[in-house]
């Protein structure tokens, strides 16, 4: 099953939604004007996705420009509702329709940052150094505070001094991996947005 639909299919579907009459009406444009403004999604690749905001679960089509050649980093030029979805039938709210501004955003984090104790600012850190430091901190805490047996001598294997939250903005698969991650370490204090 393909997820990436080509331009022609996209137009065919959208046109169906808009009604056959509309297609005919649209062709009445005077050629001079039609040529003056090029459709900005006429050369894009479309990828089916789902809006990451609320839980209505609107399907979206992400329009990217640029192939995946060695020096080409595709960029999002437009995001629009997916007319196929029975949930949104191509519609989106003010947040969904401007998802491009979320994805392509100069405020996005693009490298790991580290703030040492007592410091007043972030410093960039390499992934490698970050993993090394974090793993050491986790291990030290776990070794020091892990509870294998409670006061009554029952095996409980828990790590009460580490808490973890998250997941509601991420996919099932990541949530499942998170459950393995936390049970592997012994973390019990785990909550997500559904508790708020």
């Amino acid at each position: 099953m393909g997820y990436t639909i080509n331009r022609r299919q996209f137009f065919q579907r959208s046109a169906l939604r808009a009604g056959a009459a509309v297609t005919a009406l649209g062709l009445d444009l005077k050629p001079a004007i039609a040529a003056a403004r090029e459709l900005k999604i006429s050369r894009t690749t479309q990828t089916n996705s789902v809006c990451p905001y609320c839980a209505v679960g609107c399907s979206v089509i992400i329009h990217t420009l640029g192939d995946k050649a060695r020096n080409v980093h595709p960029t999002v030029v437009h995001i629009e509702g997916d007319p196929d979805s029975p949930v949104n039938r191509g519609t989106l709210c003010s947040k969904g329709i401007s998802l491009k501004e979320f994805v392509v955003n100069e405020r996005r984090l693009t490298r790991p940052l580290h703030r040492a104790p007592g410091q007043a600012e972030w410093k960039p850190i390499s992934w490698e150094d970050a993993y090394t430091k974090m793993a050491r901190l986790i291990k030290d805490t776990r070794d020091r505070t892990f509870v294998e047996k409670d006061e009554q001598g029952r095996e409980v294997n828990r790590l009460p001094s580490v808490a973890m939250i998250g997941g509601c903005t991420d996919t099932n698969e990541i949530n499942y991996l998170l459950s393995k991650f936390r049970f592997g370490l012994g973390i019990l204090s785990y909550e997500n947005q559904s508790r708020l």
Binding site: F11, S14, A15, R17, A18, G19, A21, V22, T23, A24, L25, G26, L27, D28, L29, K30, I33, A34, A36, R37, E38, L39, K40, S42, H78, I79, E80, G81, N88, G90, T91, L92, C93, S94, K95, G96, I97, S98, K100, E101
Partner: protein
């Protein structure tokens, strides 16, 4: 050649502003920051980079708390005041499908269209010295897509189609509202400007002002006078003046110095 139109059923508008942002996104507008003005409305008025504004109006109508929301944008008039006022041929054009579109290559930024528009819609950008307004996404319509605002509208408050069909739908909807007890419900589509290709269904069609719509829109009489009688008067003065001068010269010739002793 059928005329396309947009139907705005204000009874279904929830003020979600999806249409506002769809317009911003499709047209790659620059986003700005607003100033707080004791309202949920995004900004007080349309702007060169904001062509589609939902007007919010809290009102008590017949003793009931109401919060009226209606989208405001170019009405795509059949008899378009902006085109009438525009001096630059091809800057504003009425497409075969009824869309009133701007071709900014030809726009000279005189702003006459702003004055000519009965709905006060076009906006002049101080930055580019060009005038901007909704194009009913003529580029999308050309390839069989709906205008961005209509496609994104979650509640079907906005509908796209042929003007004839939508007028029929609008009238049917108004009848339903009347049957539901909204005796003043009706259709608003500016007969004074030959009909607008944006058609509203209003619960309180007797008070379009509460929705931020002019009561009886027509091309301003000064603009009509300017582009009508005044033009003929001017022509008469110029042509008449030159013609008279020619005739006068043929008949009387130049003044001679010896006329007086």
């Amino acid at each position: 050649m059928q005329t396309v139109a947009k139907l705005i059923d204000t009874t279904l508008c929830i003020g979600c502003k999806a249409c506002e942002v769809a317009c911003q996104q499709w047209n790659d507008q620059e986003y700005t920051l607003g100033v707080f003005q004791n309202t949920y409305q995004t900004m007080p008025d349309l702007a060169p980079n904001f062509w589609n504004l939902i007007k919010f109006n809290e009102a008590e109508i017949n003793g009931a708390q109401s919060w009226l929301m209606a989208k405001y944008q170019c009405m795509h008039c059949a008899d378009a005041g902006c085109i009438k006022a525009c001096p630059s041929p091809g800057a504003i054009v009425q497409l075969g499908n009824g869309i009133v579109d701007f071709n900014r290559d030809n726009c000279i930024g005189c702003g006459y269209c702003i004055t000519g528009c009965p709905f006060d819609v076009p906006r002049l950008s101080p930055k580019t010295k060009k005038v901007y307004k909704c194009s009913l996404c003529s580029d999308r319509v050309a390839v069989g897509l709906e205008p961005a605002c209509i496609k994104t509208c979650p509640t079907s408050c906005l509908t796209f189609g042929s003007r004839t069909d939508l007028k029929f739908l609008a009238e049917k909807r108004a009848e339903e509202l009347k049957a539901d007890g909204f005796t003043q419900a009706g259709v608003y589509d500016g007969p004074g400007v030959g009909g607008t290709n944006v058609i509203y269904v209003l619960k309180h069609a007797d008070q379009p002002e509460t929705y931020g719509l002019p009561k009886d829109p027509h091309i301003p009489w000064t603009v009509s006078l300017w582009k009508g009688p005044l033009k003929w008067l001017g022509n008469a003065v110029f042509l008449g003046g030159i013609l008279t001068a020619v005739l006068h010269f043929v008949k009387f010739g130049p003044k001679e110095e010896h006329h007086r002793g």
